[in-house]
């Protein structure tokens, strides 16, 4: 199980953070991802494997300012 933005989600790994973003419809270049309290640098999204009970905050940005 994962907790993504405060909601429980079934997890049957293996899966990287980048793959999860893709499955959930996020655009990696427009998001900031925190895993278990630590920001994951964009360059490390593809190499970061998820583990059971990981807690993620995914923030997606839209344009305009």
């Amino acid at each position: 199980m994962l907790i993504v933005n405060g909601k429980e989600m079934q997890y049957s790994g293996p899966c990287t953070v980048l793959e999860l973003l893709g499955r959930l419809g996020y655009r990696p270049d427009r998001t900031a991802v925190e895993k278990n309290g630590e920001i994951i640098p964009r360059a490390e999204l593809a190499g970061t494997e998820l583990a059971d009970n990981d807690k993620l905050e995914i923030v997606s940005f839209v344009g305009g300012g």
């Binding site: 427009r30 923030v59 940005f61 344009g63 300012g65």
Partner: protein, 231 residues
């Protein structure tokens, strides 16, 4: 790097604005303290806030913080004032063509001649974030593009741990202002906006909604400076 400080560089202007207004620093500060609280004003006047991007959001945030009497603002943008900015940004027609940081500092000097306005006419990158914003108590993300917003967020939260970031996402379109909200997303990360309306999809970007979102940001900065961390 093109850094200029309006505390020293524009000393002449500062004096003339203050003299024109027939007021002095003490009466100005006392007026602020009467509305904001004496102890609060001491904190605000000793604070430094960074603003990354000086468009619709950043220019409005800067106006608010100058009026609040925040002691020092770090103003960063690589762009010049364009005629297409005037519909929502705090610049005047005669400033078209000027570097935005300098143009904005000129306006801020007219409102609060006792603040320090450090201006940097350069693009914010992962490499210069610590140099530009390293001594800020709070940082405001006020860019236009989603990718730049994500870049700044990632790098401030990684490289300047413990410095709160107040970002904005979703203020395009003509929907009701009631959709603009402030959310505490992570311990040091606050996000203002409706988090959905993308200028690339809805097209329009109108002053009142952008100003509303910027006001959410400025209020959040004010509260953070005073130690209020919950929304």
């Amino acid at each position: 790097m093109d850094k200029e400080s309006f505390a020293g560089g524009a000393e002449m202007d500062r004096k003339s604005f203050a003299e024109d207004a027939e007021m002095d620093r003490d009466s100005f500060m006392q007026a602020l303290a009467r509305r904001h609280g004496k102890e609060n004003q001491v904190i605000l006047s000793r604070s430094t806030v960074g603003i990354a991007g000086l468009g619709g959001l950043g220019s409005h945030v800067a106006f608010s913080l100058a009026r609040l009497g925040v002691g020092r603002l770090v103003l960063v943008d690589f762009d010049r004032v364009d005629v297409t900015n005037l519909h929502r940004q705090q610049y005047a027609a005669h400033q078209v063509g000027m570097e935005k940081p300098r143009a904005l500092a000129m306006e801020l000097e007219r409102i609060n001649p006792y603040g320090t306005y450090d201006t940097y006419f350069e693009r914010v990158t992962p490499e210069n974030i610590c140099r530009l914003f390293g001594d800020c108590q709070v940082i405001c993300e006020a860019f236009d593009h989603a990718k730049e917003k994500a870049m700044l967020t990632e790098n401030v939260l990684m490289r300047l741990k413990g410095t709160p970031l107040v970002a904005a996402s979703g203020m395009a379109g003509m929907e009701s202002g009631n959709s603009i909200r402030t959310t505490k997303v992570m311990p040091d990360f606050y996000l203002c906006g409706d988090r959905a309306s993308d200028v690339d999809n809805v097209g329009s970007l109108i002053e009142p909604r952008v100003a509303l979102c910027a006001a959410h940001q400025a209020l959040t900065v004010f509260r953070l400076l005073l130690g209020i961390q919950e929304i």
